[in-house]
């Protein structure tokens, strides 16, 4: 069984869903520290002036707190404001009529615990993309104790009964293939294939904007194809990558 493990993010770019597609099971790693000014609760959309951030507001967000400890800010008008931003930005996009109601549903569900919302939201998008991946909604079911980095990942893999761990393309220097081999696991790295995708209306910022941007400009069928278009590379089992 191929396992992937990654933090949950708000409407991430399509590479995240390619990682899901590369795995049989996917664990949302939500008991790790939140990252300020990162991508966990925000992403970018296109505007005539270039990419612009949109954000899911949080209460008391801090790098000293775990993702699963954070809550979404109660709606004090921010949902209406964000809805208006998306509507204004994409109202002329070809798939707006189908996708905007989905976004409104996402917004309506955005309350309470951040990690729970993101996990549910990402699973809904994965289903929309036709992915058959199974999900473990929270890594907190596997208490981490003192485990960090690749040792935590290995522990989750072993508890899940995985035989292969699929990692995003970055972070190769953090993972030691012989350690995975010794634990009976094959270590693989995703290679997103975005360059050759015939995606519609991809501007200068390409397909690295939020998945919402691609959903507005491309058919569901095309994005289903795109989510499953990637390569995986197996790390050399006998020597460290770095």
């Amino acid at each position: 069984m191929r396992l992937a493990i990654m933090q949950p993010y708000f409407l991430p770019y399509i590479g995240y869903f390619q990682l899901m597609a590369a795995a049989d099971r996917f664990v949302f790693l939500d008991d790790v520290n939140y990252i300020n000014r990162g991508w966990i609760n925000r992403n970018r959309l296109r505007t005539p002036q270039g990419p612009a951030w949109f954000t899911l507001p949080l209460i008391g967000a801090s790098q000293n707190r775990l993702i699963c400890e954070l809550d979404i800010k109660p709606d004090d008008g921010w949902k209406r404001s964000l809805e208006r931003t998306i509507s204004t930005t994409y109202s002329k996009a070809p798939c707006y009529a189908e996708v905007f109601p989905l976004f409104q549903d996402f917004l309506a569900a955005a309350s309470g615990n951040l990690a729970q919302f993101l996990s549910q939201n990402l699973q809904e998008i994965a289903a929309w993309l036709g992915l058959a991946t199974q999900f473990v909604p929270s890594s907190s079911i596997y208490p981490k104790g003192e485990l960090k980095g690749q040792h935590r990942i290995l522990d989750i893999c072993l508890r899940e009964g995985a035989d292969t761990y699929v990692n995003p393309p970055g972070g190769r220097e953090l993972y030691d293939a012989p350690v995975f081999t010794a634990a009976g696991l094959e270590l693989q790295f995703l290679k997103p294939e975005l360059k050759n995708l015939q995606l519609g209306s991809v501007g200068d910022d390409g397909p690295v904007l939020s998945i919402l941007d691609l959903m507005m400009y491309n058919s569901q069928e095309l994005l289903r194809q795109a989510a499953s278009t990637f390569q995986v590379e197996t790390a050399c089992p006998t020597s460290p990558l770095s």
């Binding site: 990654m6 770019y13 995240y16 200068d204 390409g206 990558l241």
Partner: protein
């Protein structure tokens, strides 16, 4: 789009703070997603396919620049 702009955009840091000596580990917004985006964006902007070894060796801005130069990209 320059390499400095890509780092600034992906990690939401001032472009002026992007120097060859800057290591990914020093960037507070560095995580799985930003690293994934960095590689995707570099490959897309400069029309290159980085190898696994090159990605593994990319620990700083300077490493990224050298990887691109090895693909004959002037950065």
């Amino acid at each position: 789009m320059t390499l400095e702009k890509i780092f600034a955009e992906v990690f939401a840091i001032p472009e002026s703070s992007v120097a060859d000596t800057l290591e990914l580990r020093q960037i507070s917004s560095w995580d799985s997603m930003s690293h994934m985006l960095l590689i995707t964006r570099i490959e897309e902007v400069f029309s290159v396919q980085l190898t696994g070894d090159e990605i593994a060796d990319m620990k700083s801005v300077g490493d990224s620049r050298r990887a691109l130069q090895s693909h004959a990209v002037a950065v």
